[in-house]
Symmetry: D2
Subunit: 308 residues, 4 copies
């Protein structure tokens, strides 16, 4: 099953669970994978930035991907961003052989012109193979690469295998409108747009034309519901649910400690056994942990299903 | 009245109101200044980033400062960041003569080492005069300069006239804890810490030891209440009020359109006559305007005093 | 006399001479201006990066420009880059009134997409007036803005008043070839291309199609000769002269101490009275000074006219 | 044989030779390795930035290292910089097992404070093992990380296995003086300082206290001679030789095309069979190739041994 430009719903970004000593925790992977499916996700993205991909050796990466793919029926997308095309091609080859639906590629932070960005994606697609569906990761805050809507259109047009945009520019609402405008005026074919950035603007992103979310917020069940309510036109209900989670969304969206928050909540929810990050990784301090506990207790009052 | 390290409460960041043709709108300045005082702010900061300072000529800047100072009894702090010390000195001289309480200085985005940052503030203080109280603006997202807590300690220690930190690092909670820890262990004298970043973390920043807020969110009255409730130990009440505003806070915190949102709401509240930004400035699109309207209508249901 | 796209030869970048106490040294300005004219320059650019422009107050800037203009017949271009259009417009107005031939504008280092760069120059041109000839300063090393040749073409096409490119990209030879190629294929009108970067590649830049140099190397007389020899097709002679100066060119091209080297040599040549830089400015250390002395002694053996 | 802080002379940065179709060219590796030894180098660094390391898969990297080590008696240092410690550790383990003398580590370009830089090297050393000698690569132009001399001192002091600094800051002469000053005043133990940056300042770097060069200029035999002459106190002879090469050094030092120039000259010298770069890699244009040919013809007249 290959990733297509019709992808919709929630492609959850999966963290990588570790034992306290840093080894990969395979039974937590299984439990987490089942939890995601039960939460209603329509896809799973592994080895993204928040999957601690750079801390994994190649063989570990491949084994994680295989484990997840072997357990689910939904498409699995794999982050293959790398400083060079050799490593990108090697990982792509191995995970596509294992049954991945496609790969996600972020731009290296040295790209500075529209031409350079477009060229990079052409070369990347050539490196991994023109038949491998790929996702553009547009995350300027982390990658320092700004992609104007017209550059995304160029990438989409020049690369038939480009199926999806992981949209996490900030501010980003007008970018969704611009891209959907290109589709309406016929200057760009349709692609799937799923939004990231820990869902901080998911409420309005759906209304601007996003197809769903591609992020790893610790309550993916809520993401599924917000996407569904928004699609059904239940605007107030979507916002009510979203707003209840926003204090925690905001807290988890912090770069650095955010991933520790996510793992801590997933641990408290019983999904993974330990909130360990591999080095180097920010640890939650005691005050931060207490703040998350407080946010969870407040959340439980507003969204009863969010009791942990 | 000089700014001191005992500053507390809300130092609101004042936008600069313009007529639709770009001229400074003096009657809106007056109305806005009165509104701020009535909202309970303890200070006003003018000509910050969101005061569109770089779009003003020197004489305009000075006249705005004089107008605000002439109208209030609270301290007025003036942003004097400039690409060179000559312009910084000239503006500081003129606004201090006019009765400003102190100035705010952001680091130029070329600084890359701890030594370079510390040296810059020594030189800046020498340029403006060692008797002029100044505020460090620590806003890495915009200025690309990362200040470790130990660098802030160095600046505070080397410059007796450093009175305040405008804290807007992100993530930033641990930085407040670290600085207050320095005060407790005696390695740094006390300074005022007021937080910015459109108050996105004001709830927890207060609990970590901040003295208040130094930001321009379009409901400064709410900031005043959250700071007060937090100081009084009314934690749940502080968070309830804060959470009611968080969807709009988040929306206004977007770099670029954020200032347009702020001015639009202040216009809708009757505080300023027009939401015009001087060029170059992002305009709110029609969809964005409708989104803000929707957020305001939702807010009015949760915080009745926030009806506009 | 307005700057046109036919500009050729050497537009020397003028440093600003100061007295040891930091005041502007007017008699050194006069002597330096005469020296430039005698050296054969075809234009003078004042208040560029290496003219310490950001350290000058507005009135000082204008008085320097007037002094230089009053003394020469060649066109004088003025750097007006500023963090906002208000200051840029004010300075442009005053210097054009005083008889400047045009202005030079560098992009702010926040620009990240082709669209943003093109928009900036449209807005800048609108701010200063469509009748004011301007020079694009393309210096990515300092300004962190990368302009692809196609972006420069857009700026040239969208702004009839764009007369010149100060080319200092690095590497930059292919960019000159690309731009001249646009002229040949009719997709861009002709502009003047003068090269900066302390002339580090002037030898080959001339051969790629540059019209001359726009830099402040401490032997502008040599720049004039290299440009002339190259235009006359005396390739080996041009390179011989250039190579004799290359060790010093390279030394002076260092960002930071470079300007101190330039002023030190101009002082040793008797052109300016003091090599003082305004704060903040790098001072030459004793070892650096001795290294420059050694380079000068070696240069004098290779280029007898370069005896100081 | 482990790398020690007494390292001296020229540690040449080895490019990786490819066949025109992109496969590794093993016989060129052998010929190049022999050429380096014959040129008098005292060490070889493989898989640095200009060894196209990011374009190699892990197994390829290890095989190259083994091939070079198996052929020489001089120490071989291996670049192991990677986006995560897992890949860094894996490569270090494999190359140290194969007999490497040490590894070279560049900082990731996200580091922004002195504390973060020092912490990174502690964690890296812990990841690769405290017994593995390592080289700090200080190359701000490419990595965007500025290390003050005091930070380098911290790294050296906190990590006994830090043996060498690959110095390629720019400007960088004062940094060498500062570090040697630390050694003299007893605040830092001695380390080897070899300089990079394509030797653009090797003449003066030696005089400031460098122990030699760690770069890959296409005439490593010249580097060996300049280092030797400088050590022998033959200042004028060292500069004469250096100056003869400076026009080509400068040309090869251009980021991007520089590596293509280097390979092209090595091919013309008969050292490697093809000047192919793996994708993505800048190709020399025809005009650039002609420029290098011209520089070589001029060089041959000044340094007869440099005839190719």
């Amino acid at each position: 099953m290959k990733l297509t430009s019709d992808a919709k719903g929630v492609y959850v970004i999966a963290p990588t669970p570790f034992h306290p000593d840093g080894r990969i925790d395979e039974s937590s992977i299984d439990r987490m994978t089942d939890f995601f499916v039960k939460s209603g996700v329509t896809g799973i993205t592994v080895l993204g930035q928040l999957g601690e991909a750079p801390k994994m050796e190649h063989a570990e990466s491949v084994s994680i991907v295989k484990r997840v793919i072997g357990r689910v029926k939904v498409p699995v997308v794999v982050g293959v961003s790398a400083p060079g095309f050799a490593a990108m091609r090697a990982l792509t080859r191995d995970v596509m052989d294992a049954g991945a639906a496609g790969v996600m590629i972020a731009p290296p932070n040295t790209l500075r012109t529209d031409d350079a960005i477009a060229q990079y994606y052409r070369q990347a697609s050539e490196a991994i193979g023109a038949d491998v569906p790929f996702v553009i990761q547009d995350y300027p805050l982390t990658f320092s690469v700004q992609m104007a809507p017209s550059v995304i259109r160029r990438i989409v047009t020049e690369n038939p295998s480009c199926a999806m945009l992981k949209h996490e520019d900030w501010p980003g609402l007008e970018k969704i409108s611009a891209l959907r405008g290109y589709e309406r005026d016929g200057s760009m074919r349709h692609i799937s747009i799923l939004t990231g950035n820990n869902a901080l603007f998911l409420d309005f992103e759906m209304e601007r034309g996003a197809d769903g979310a591609n992020t790893g917020y610790c309550f993916p069940d809520m993401l599924v519901d917000v996407v569904r309510l928004s699609k059904e036109g239940k605007r107030d209900e979507a916002h009510d649910l979203f707003d209840a989670h926003l204090p925690l969304i905001r807290y988890e969206q912090q770069p650095g400690p955010g991933l520790a928050v996510r793992k801590y909540v997933l641990m408290r929810r019983g999904v993974i056994a330990s909130d360990t990050l591999r080095k180097p990784g920010a640890q939650l301090t005691a005050p931060a942990r207490a703040e998350v506990d407080y946010l969870l207790s407040r959340l439980a009052r507003k969204d009863p299903r969010a009791r942990v």
